[in-house]
Symmetry: C2
Subunit: 146 residues, 2 copies
């Protein structure tokens, strides 16, 4: 299975980067993970930054699933089913520090929420990777200490 | 404000420990965080382990709020309101690798879910601390890059 992850900019928090790398490694036997780090916008004009990043996301890959706290709330088992349904390839988009543009929201094939709570966009990367690993342990009926 | 966190055993994942320490530090201006690491049970008799850890949790501190994926799903703003309502002291319990005993579930003053998804119990510690920090930035109207 191929899993594309699109997000804006490098992961700056070292502890999150360490965690992301750990799960990328754990996922290797199950899926090919391709991270597409689109260029992050800097500045104070948030509307413009979000639009610019949105254009890059839309150019990157389609169809895609947007991580969005207004999206569907799945359990980990339901999320595993969602992965299976989307085999052999799925793309997830995680917005930047200020979220995503309306066009990115409207263009998503699905919107999935990890929580009703707001996570930092970098933490969302880690949580998604951990849930992807969990999904494959569910799909392959492997035990996974939680 | 005083915030007690009760969980079983040390945080073994280094990246999570780094993240937990970061948020403990960030929370210092807002709250006194006291982590109570009760002794973790080892073995194969899961039922017995969960009961034993449950006894220790119940002895530790009361009343307490249980982190539980079957609990109430709050937004970060609602969670901030929940913290304010519980001032000047609140205690959170996070279960171990195999969850918590029925007695711990039944004894909780409230049950709060971070997600419908299952997180590792160590990841739950990090997510809770990040949400506590976020809650105080909401309460004190501080900007917080997400």
């Amino acid at each position: 299975m191929k899993i594309n992850l699109i997000w804006a900019g490098k992961t700056k928090e070292q502890f999150l980067l360490d965690g992301i790398r750990k799960y990328e490694k754990l996922l290797k036997p199950y899926a090919h993970i391709a991270v597409h780090e689109i260029k992050e916008e800097k500045g104070t004009d948030i509307q413009r930054m979000v639009e610019k990043e949105g254009e890059r996301i839309l150019k990157c890959r389609s169809p895609y699933v947007l991580l969005d706290d207004k999206g569907k709330h799945l359990t980990s088992v339901e999320f595993a089913g969602f992965i299976v349904k989307n085999m052999p390839e799925i793309t997830f988009v995680i917005g930047g520090a200020y979220g995503v543009s309306d066009r990115v929201k409207q263009g998503a094939q699905d919107r999935i929420a990890l929580s009703r709570m707001t996570f930092t966009h970098e933490m969302t990367r880690l949580v998604l990777l951990e849930q992807l690993f969990r999904a494959f342990t569910i799909i392959h009926k492997r035990s996974y200490h939680h």
